[in-house]
């Protein structure tokens, strides 16, 4: 096990597949078909490989596992280092699971530049997995920013009519955050003399510096998650992106922000985190209430789900900053379940978009008459989105609110209004799309899910119920890492003085 560089394999196998696709020559149809198949097989093999780390993951240690190390820039003390712990491991699996589904979802609706499209997706997978596995700040930063390149291309080339506006907005928002984060990374390097993440986790930054570093990282993560009021890029990006682009964006890219808070902001800048907690709570509560109300008023299905994502991620930031076991585990769980549920919801919109080519809610109505299977699956994920017990959505929200109630009942009560509003906009959406009499002529012959689509939804359906009824296997992975995270933060906070925490945090 030590000899097999499994994480590098997972990271770069998609890149190999992309190179392979690049070399395909010949007739346009043949190229397209081969590109699809290579992309599907590469990503499927990658998924199967990723199960290896789940099977061999040791849930009893908080140390990074499957660690790989190679000298990169020894003069600057920068190296290529990979590894996962209980916080990052499941996100790798989420990514490897969703990529083949995305390829499958693009099987028919992408007909132009198929080769380039599939390459973009495989490259995207490489960057995403690399981001979650990176244990060196520089490596992390490279992956973190590189993800935007294929994402820009996917939106900008295969997107809708306002794709240029959407990509420029995404660029403007992320640029600010990226520049500040880069500055922060330089400052951290100057203070700690290393970019090695495990070392940085036990390094005590002076409280004044922490404040600035925290703010710089916050600028980047808050945009990614996204938090109110830097969320307005998300609805536009989602609306313009092709279905699979929306899926990856909602399911994985948004998690970068939450993951960043848990990996960097909380453990490395604990004093600043505590200081800014009221800010986070305020922005998150505004996000939950504000975006839920906005979602209620939407006329575009994708926009509605995009806004609901902002509300759901508001729960994540609340949970993470409660600094309680339930809150943080809930935040991770919520990110995973949102990964599954939002992916499914965007795929659900994609199914009817492929048939009718409209995202307007008013273009639909009465679909249940023609599409009973579709209606059932939509119902299931709608319920997961509103956090019905027995689905994945419940566990995360419940744990987060338990944690929030411990810290401040007001926060829990205000955030819990999201449960009511969330039900309102989702039920209202479902009613307008699925229920009612079938009166529109162009819908009369609409077909139910085909086998390919059922194959896409099947794993998501299984997961969303499994994670709702028996979340043990997922929560077990987090326990030790989260406990350790909290212990370290609390020792650092108790110690107060810089440097005092190193001794107790040797477990890293």
């Amino acid at each position: 096990m030590d000899t097999l560089p499994i994480l590098s394999l997972l990271t770069f196998l998609p890149l190999v597949g992309a190179l392979f696709i690049l070399s395909i020559r010949g007739d346009a149809d043949v190229v397209a078909r081969n590109a699809r198949h290579v992309a599907l097989w590469t990503s499927m093999i990658n998924f199967v490989l990723s199960l290896f780390i789940w099977v061999h993951f040791d849930t009893k240690t908080a140390n990074f596992q499957f660690v790989e190390y190679a000298l990169w820039m020894p003069d600057f003390n920068i190296s290529y280092k990979m590894g996962v712990d209980g916080i990052s491991m499941l996100f790798v699996l989420l990514t490897t699971l969703l990529t083949p589904l995305c390829v499958l979802a693009s099987w028919e609706n992408i007909q132009t530049r198929v080769k380039e499209y599939m390459i973009s997706f495989l490259v995207l997978e490489t960057f995403m997995i690399g981001m979650f596995c990176a244990l060196d700040l520089v490596v992390f930063y490279i992956f973190f920013e590189a993800v935007l390149i294929p994402m820009f291309i996917i939106i900008g080339v295969w997107g809708g009519p306002r794709r240029v506006y959407a990509s420029f907005k995404l660029f403007l928002y992320t640029l600010l955050g990226s520049v500040l984060m880069l500055l922060a990374i330089l400052a951290m390097y100057a203070d700690a003399g290393t970019t090695d993440i495990p070392n940085l986790l036990v390094h005590r930054f002076p409280p004044e510096l922490q404040t600035w570093l925290w703010l710089a990282f916050f600028a980047s993560f808050a945009v990614k998650i996204p938090m109110w009021p830097v969320h307005t890029w998300l609805p536009d990006a989602h609306v313009e992106a092709p279905t699979a682009g929306s899926v990856v964006l909602a399911a994985v890219l948004l998690k970068f922000g939450g993951y960043g808070f848990l990996r960097f902001s909380l453990p490395m800048f604990p004093d600043a985190s505590v200081m800014f907690t009221p800010l986070i709570f305020t922005l998150s509560i505004i996000a939950v209430i504000y975006t839920s109300l906005v979602a209620l008023a939407q006329e575009d299905m994708k926009k509605l789900i995009a806004y609901s994502s902002v509300a759901h991620m508001g729960f994540v930031t609340i949970g993470a900053f409660t600094l309680t076991v339930q809150g943080i585990e809930g935040a991770i769980y919520q990110m995973l379940s949102h990964g599954i549920v939002s992916a499914a919801l965007f795929l659900i919109v994609g199914v009817v978009y492929d048939r009718i080519h409209s995202r307007e809610i008013t273009a639909y109505g009465g679909l249940v008459h023609q599409m009973p299977k579709y209606s059932l699956i939509f119902m299931l994920f709608m319920l997961a989105s509103v956090g019905l017990p027995g689905t994945a959505g419940f566990i995360g929200e419940f744990l987060i609110l338990v944690g929030a109630f411990k810290v401040n009942p007001w926060v829990a009560a205000l955030a819990a209004t999201g449960l009511i509003l969330g039900a309102a906009y989702m039920l209202y959406l479902y009613r307008r799309v699925i229920f009612g009499a079938m009166t529109k002529e162009n819908l009369a012959a609409i077909g139910d899910l085909n086998m390919r689509e059922i194959a896409i939804f099947a794993p998501l359906v299984i997961l969303v119920i499994w994670m709702g009824i028996y979340p043990g296997p997922f929560l077990d992975i987090m326990h030790v890492s989260v406990e350790n995270l909290l212990t370290n933060i609390n020792t650092a906070l108790d110690a107060g003085a810089p440097g005092a925490a190193i001794a107790t945090a040797a477990g890293k």
């Binding site: 420029f168 907005k169 403007l172 928002y173 009021p229 830097v230 307005t232 890029w233 609805p235 504000y290 109300l293 906005v294 979602a295 209620l296 008023a297 939407q298 309680t324 076991v325 339930q326 585990e329 809930g330 009465g366 249940v368 009973p372 299977k373 319920l383 019905l388 017990p389 027995g390 566990i395 419940f398 744990l399 609110l401 338990v402 109630f405 411990k406 009942p409 007001w410 829990a412 009560a413 819990a416 209004t417 449960l419 009511i420 509003l421 039900a423 309102a424 039920l427 209202y428 009613r431 699925i434 229920f435 009612g436 009499a437 009824i469 028996y470 979340p471 043990g472 929560l475 326990h479």
Partner: protein
């Protein structure tokens, strides 16, 4: 093992029937084969579950053998540990037995009632699924699993209210039911959190054991310091108010009548709406330690009892009358719990399940006979045409009105006596409101009977020509329920609230010695014992006067007191009020936040503003590059002047 069968057989039935719903009949000679299969599977699984529940009843209640069956861990995070488990004590097994038997009866009835429908497997699947969630609710051994069942029955209620999804009214009612319940669940969820923070557990046994030690604990919450037990109990009660349609959160229940009638009988009369009462009784060891919470429960229950009864007196839709009646009866159950007569509340709950299901199904039989007409103003003169239904409705009404020796006589009287015997201000309020509501109950019940079955037929000839008695598959279930409505009160009295009660209930319900209302209820003055019966008879007499002997009087009163009449007819204007203060503002705010907040403010100042500013700046900067030498020379000269001036002034 039997308890596993009782709880999970309905789930199995639901899954099988659900799969059948997706199958198309291949055999053209037997187009109903799939419908039949779904009916056999669901009814079969329900009846088997009821039989299993009978065995459990025999073991746990009669054999005094309460137990908890652990299934597997559900949530485990830090100190929070929640299991899937079945808790079987007298309270849960009484509910288990009641739910499975009433549900079985209603399943069978549905075969007849729904036989014209084109989605029978789906309907039967929902009914089975509902029963499963209800059983998970009542057998839960912790608050979180209770919440699972709680939301699950809410989901099924939503699905079944909106069962005929082509009707806009049904869809609107379904969403309303879900959302109003969510408002209650908001309180319930916060209550669970508060309980967990206080007790470090959500398991009933752990909580109940720790309550006495926490009796004086306080909790800093929402800007004040309150008794921790009171905070927990009040928050949980908000959840109960939503599910059991108590005053303020009741608006969904009348609208829920958009669903098929068997649904109204099963969910919105017999089982789901009583979940709130069940929860308060289940949490009796907690509520007992909070006088504030008990007083609140009493006042809300009593107010709902009278409020709903007043509204029921003027409604014209046969199902809505019964729906408001349900709301009112739930109020009785709550104030019974509020005066610590929990077992009396459960006694009424069980009896009510039978006679109210009977009334609903009887109403369904009437609607069925009248070609789907529900407006009582268009009925009348039916009793000769559907005599069996008529007799059964009489039995249900006698039980509801509390006439000796029908079930309601025993169960409602003991509640009123306990309220009187509680000897508190809230108890007194509940007693007099309860007496007034009992009068109105009898009045509107006979108003319903007389308007529906007596007088001259008001429907057109065609409808009257079609009126027919329902088939056996619908009548037999009604007879079973009627038997319950007749005998449960008499048979159950000793065990539920009489001398055998302490033996019967075991440790399922806790009543502190300082709350002896139920004990004292047996020793109230004679007039208290007979007053409910007297007002019921008076109510019946008044109904006869108004609707048979002098039919001009109601119209005259309605005309004279028009404002009051409209106030009642429009259900105290709750819907209009909520629409004005919640629904409309939510949509308005959503639109404003979207267009103004996101559009003009955030985007306008943010990305769009920045890009506009950059473009403007570039244009200005570009305009400077004129290419004329003298422009540049002038700018240079100006610069030199400024520099020199600055130098001179600073030195």
């Amino acid at each position: 093992m039997m308890e596993i069968f009782a709880v999970f057989l309905p789930l199995l039935g639901a899954v099988i029937a659900g799969l059948l719903a997706f199958m198309r009949p291949r055999d053209s000679h037997h187009p109903n084969r799939i419908d039949k299969a779904a009916q056999y599977v669901t009814c079969g699984s329900m009846i088997l579950a009821a039989v299993a529940a009978g065995f459990v009843f025999w073991d746990v209640v009669l054999g005094s053998n309460p137990k908890t069956v652990e299934l597997f861990t559900w949530i485990d995070s830090g100190a929070l540990e929640v299991s899937w488990a079945l808790k079987l004590d007298t309270l849960s097994v009484v509910m288990l037995f009641m739910v499975t038997s009433v549900s079985s009866v209603i399943h069978v009835y549905s075969i007849g009632y729904m036989h014209h429908d084109n989605a029978i497997p789906r309907f039967m699947s929902y009914l089975n699924l509902f029963t499963f969630f209800m059983l998970m609710l009542v057998t839960s051994d912790n608050l979180v699993q209770l919440f699972f069942g709680w939301e699950g029955v809410g989901l099924c209620s939503y699905l079944l209210i909106g069962f005929w999804y082509d009707r806009p009214a049904a869809n609107a009612a379904a969403i309303k039911a879900f959302l109003v319940n969510r408002v209650g669940d908001f309180g319930f969820a916060l209550g669970i959190f508060a309980v967990f923070i206080l007790f470090q557990s959500t398991d009933f046994d752990t909580i109940f054991a720790a309550v006495p030690n926490k009796a004086n604990a306080t909790m800093q919450i929402f800007g004040g310091e309150f008794s921790a037990i009171t905070v927990c109990a009040v928050l949980l009660f908000i959840g109960a108010m939503g599910k059991s349609a108590q005053l303020g959160l009741h608006t969904w229940l009348p609208d829920a009548m958009e669903g098929p009638t068997p649904v109204s009988a099963l969910i919105h009369a017999a089982t789901m709406v009583t979940a709130g009462v069940f929860m308060v009784v289940r949490m009796s060891p907690l509520f007992e330690y909070s006088e504030t919470a008990l007083t609140l429960v009493t006042v809300v229950g009593a107010s709902t009892a009278i409020f709903a009864a007043t509204v029921a007196c003027v409604q014209n839709d046969i199902k809505r009358v019964i729906a408001y009646s349900t709301c009112s009866q739930l109020g009785y159950m709550f104030f019974a719990a509020g005066v610590s007569a929990y077992s009396a509340g459960v006694f009424h709950l069980v009896a009510h399940a039978f006679f109210k299901a009977l009334l609903f199904l009887g109403a369904g039989s009437v609607i069925h006979a009248m070609s789907d007409e529900q407006d009582m103003r268009k009925m009348g003169g039916l009793w000769r045409l559907i005599p069996v239904t008529y007799v059964l409705m009489w039995i249900g009404s006698l039980a509801l009105a509390g006439i000796f020796p029908f079930a309601g006589y025993f169960t409602k009287d003991v509640i009123l006596e306990a309220a009187y015997a509680a000897d508190t201000l809230a108890g007194g309020y509940a007693f007099w409101m309860g007496i007034a509501a009992a009068f109105l109950t009898a009045f509107y019940s006979w108003r319903l009977l007389l308007m529906t079955f007596h007088g001259a037929p008001r429907a057109d000839k065609k409808v009257m020509g079609h009126v027919h008695e329902s088939p056996k598959v619908m009548i037999v279930p009604l007879i079973v329920l009627a038997a319950g409505a007749m005998f449960i009160g008499y048979l159950g009295y000793e065990s539920f609230v009489g001398h055998g009660a302490s033996n019967f209930w075991g440790n399922a319900i806790l009543v502190l010695p300082s709350h002896p209302a139920l004990e004292a209820a047996h020793n109230v003055p004679v007039w208290v014992k007979y007053l409910p019966l007297a007002v019921a008879v008076a109510g019946i007499a008044l109904a006869y006067l108004f609707y048979l002997l002098a039919p001009a009087i109601p119209a005259m009163i309605a005309g004279r007191f028009r404002a009051v009449y409209l106030f009642l007819l429009n259900k105290w204007y709750f819907d209009e009020l909520y629409d004005r203060i919640f629904v409309k503002p939510a949509f308005y705010l959503g639109r404003e936040f979207w267009k103004t907040g996101d559009g003009s403010l955030i985007d306008g100042v943010g990305p769009d503003g920045v890009s506009a500013a950059v473009r403007l700046l570039a244009k200005r900067a570009g305009a400077l590059q004129t290419g004329y030498l003298y422009h540049y020379a002038f700018a240079m000269l100006a610069g030199v002047v400024v520099l020199v001036t600055w130098y001179l002034f600073t030195h």
